[in-house]
């Protein structure tokens, strides 16, 4: 079948310095991946087309790009399936990363974040023996956090990273979780403490993009949630992110539902600066009938919910 691929081209050393789209037409079949198509274009149509790839089998993570606007590995994406799903085939460099040339981006932001979480086991005495069952036993705790091929899809798609370039991001935090459950590591409390700071686990907006685009099912957001749970279990409950979880749960445990007036009050209680900042919006919400009465009787159904909470505590 004859198909057309639209590719975003950019060469800082050429006369056209701006990124621009170029159409390529070629034959493709059921077995044609986007990577095979790119190789064909490079070999038969335009030798200047530049992209990264190596294993062709979703292992090396080097050919992540925007395919119809979504972060995908070119070697694992079928040309025909894309066309039937989106009615077109557009290929561009990974979003939110500096473009070096055509489809090749600078992965430095990704590596810096990974480095920042010290993605290796730290021990006083590296030679001290480790019981072999310790390592087999953690397999389950690891979830899939050790399957990462460092392709960068999750960071590129991350909505929190869109707003805040210093956010550690999904891959690095998933890696932080992977070390957090490794019994050989001796710095686990310090690591968890560091993750409470700005740009750490509480900066994730829970957009679920990382879970969806990861080609290896690492589910970074779920690992971030596990880090949050571990933090609360380790009594790191002071951050307003942790308070959001504990107070939300407390309100629902009492009333059976969320009362949107009570939650912010409880979360910021005693934090006068924050409470003060909320006043103007609070008044507007009140005027527009958007602030449920925090002193009203709990709604129907609260007794059953209280019983469920009580049962869980046992």
């Amino acid at each position: 079948m004859r198909i057309t691929i639209k590719i975003q081209r950019f060469n800082p050393e050429s006369e056209i310095k701006k990124a621009h789209w170029v159409d390529y037409t070629l034959d493709a079949g059921r077995e044609t991946t986007v990577l095979l198509a790119l190789i064909k274009i490079k070999e038969e149509i335009d030798g200047t087309l530049t992209f990264r790839a190596s294993c062709r089998a979703s292992i090396c993570g080097s050919d992540l790009m925007m395919i119809n606007g979504i972060q995908k590995l070119a070697c694992r994406t079928s040309v025909l399936e894309e066309i039937s799903r989106h009615g077109k085939l557009q290929v561009g460099p990974m979003d939110k990363m500096p473009v070096i040339k055509d489809l090749v981006v600078d992965m430095d932001p990704f590596w810096q974040k990974l480095k920042a979480v010290k993605p290796y086991v730290e021990r006083q005495n590296d030679d001290a023996p480790v019981q072999s069952e310790t390592l087999t036993n953690i397999q389950e705790d690891l979830e899939n956090a050790d399957a990462c091929i460092m392709c960068g899809a999750c960071l590129s798609a991350c909505n929190s990273f869109e707003a805040s370039s210093d956010f550690l991001g999904p891959a690095a935090l998933a890696k932080a979780y992977r070390i957090q459950v490794d019994p050989r590591d001796e710095m686990r409390i310090d690591r968890l403490t560091a993750l409470q700071e700005d740009n750490g686990i509480w900066d994730c907006v829970r957009c679920v993009y990382c879970v969806q685009v990861c080609p290896k099912d690492v589910a970074p957001m779920e690992q971030i949630v596990r880090l949050r749970r571990l933090s609360i279990a380790a009594n790191m409950t002071e951050s307003i992110g942790a308070l959001h979880i504990t107070k939300f749960t407390e309100v629902v445990g009492e009333e059976g539902r969320l009362n949107e007036t009570k939650l912010p009050l409880l979360m910021t209680w005693g934090n006068f600066k924050k409470m003060f900042q909320m006043i103007p919006l609070g008044i507007k919400m009140l005027i527009h009938g958007k602030s449920p009465n925090p002193f009203a009787d709990p709604p129907a159904g609260h007794k059953a919910v209280r019983a469920i909470f009580k049962g869980r505590k046992k």
């Binding site: 119809n68 979504i70 799903r85 989106h86 909505n159 929190s160 869109e162 707003a163 805040s164 956010f167 509480w202 900066d203 994730c204 907006v205 829970r206 957009c207 679920v208 993009y209 879970v211 969806q212 949630v225 949050r228 749970r229 609360i232 951050s239 307003i240 992110g241 959001h244 979880i245 939300f248 749960t249 629902v252 059976g256 539902r257 969320l258 009362n259 949107e260 939650l263 912010p264 979360m267 910021t268 919006l281 507007k284 919400m285 527009h288 009938g289 958007k290 602030s291 449920p292 709604p299 129907a300 159904g301 609260h302 059953a304 919910v305 019983a307 469920i308 009580k310 049962g311 869980r312």
Partner: protein, 297 residues
């Protein structure tokens, strides 16, 4: 066509206009609903961060209640849909999980869930169960010449394993509904992205920046209003829009105001069905809806 209607905390709390307009629309269309008036919170993904089994049990109670009524559930909140619908799928698939959760549920409430209920957002019900063709005769006030930016938000699309109605990469149900109402669906960047609402209380800067990006992008594409199936997105995009406007103006210049009405899906449909703005609870919005209403009438 009858459903157990799960209004969600927002519908009965900070966004009463969602419940109000939903009732107006379902009554007008003849969709029968049995309101679950003793319903509990789905946990919004927050309670599961504290205790996953607690979140499962709370949602199992909702599912068991609907099961006893022999009804499928209709949600009106993208977040409720993602959480309740996602947990439902897990409880249906994983028998040992269901057994464990039922044990606690049975002890504390006497209820058991057998996994027979379907959870559907009103957006999906309108497109599929009711059907776009069947909807057409009810559009007595087509929204001609009005441009609407569809905003899906996160949990009605992702993770795909929990939702599975629209293709998350290229969802179309809102676009189809907008067209059926006679309006024009605007293409813009950000319709499937996050509004920032989950972190407004703790990370205001990040959240406000996201609102600025989403509304700013819809504005640039020429939208008269945005429409969303999620009341939390509605809140993010409506009540924080004035703060977001400052960020937008810093990037684009002072003359670039946002002034974007953000409607709940049942509100927009209600307008197209000829109901008055008052009866759809428009007074609860922080961003003025009058210019849009004028354009429609």
């Amino acid at each position: 066509m009858k459903y157990a209607y799960y209004p969600g905390c927002a519908g009965k709390g900070a966004t009463p206009e969602l419940h109000q307009s939903t009732m107006k629309v379902v009554n007008g269309l003849g969709i029968e609903v049995h309101e679950l008036d003793a319903f509990n919170c789905c946990g919004a993904g927050v309670i599961s961060e504290a205790d996953p089994d607690l979140a499962y049990t709370l949602n199992a109670r909702t599912l068991a209640t609907a099961e006893a009524l022999h009804l499928d559930i209709m949600t009106v909140c993208g977040t409720c849909q993602g959480v309740l619908g996602g947990i439902n799928k897990k409880l249906q698939k994983d028998k040992s999980l269901r057994k464990r959760i039922n044990l606690g549920l049975q002890k504390s409430t006497g209820l058991t869930y057998n996994g027979t209920v379907k959870v559907k957002h009103i957006q999906w019900i309108l497109v599929k169960d009711f059907g776009l063709e069947a909807l057409k005769p009810f559009i007595s006030n087509p929204l001609t010449d009005v441009s609407i930016a569809p905003f899906y938000g996160c949990y009605i699309l992702r993770p795909e394993s929990a939702t599975g109605f629209d293709d998350w990469e290229n969802p179309q149900s809102l676009e189809k509904l907008i067209k059926t109402m006679g309006a024009y669906p605007v293409e813009y960047d950000g319709r499937t992205k996050c509004c920032g609402f989950p972190v407004f209380l703790e990370k205001e800067k990040i959240a406000t920046e996201l609102v600025a990006n989403r509304v700013g992008s819809a504005k640039k594409a020429g939208a008269d209003a945005m429409v969303t199936p999620c009341p939390l997105c509605h809140m993010g995009l409506d009540i924080y829009q004035k703060d977001a406007e400052k960020i937008h103006q810093k990037k684009e210049g002072l003359s670039h105001t946002l002034d974007m009405p953000v409607l709940h899906l049942p509100q927009l449909l209600g307008l197209a069905m000829g109901y008055s703005p008052e009866s759809l609870g428009m007074k609860h919005h922080l961003m003025p809806t009058a210019p849009l209403i004028q354009k429609i009438h």
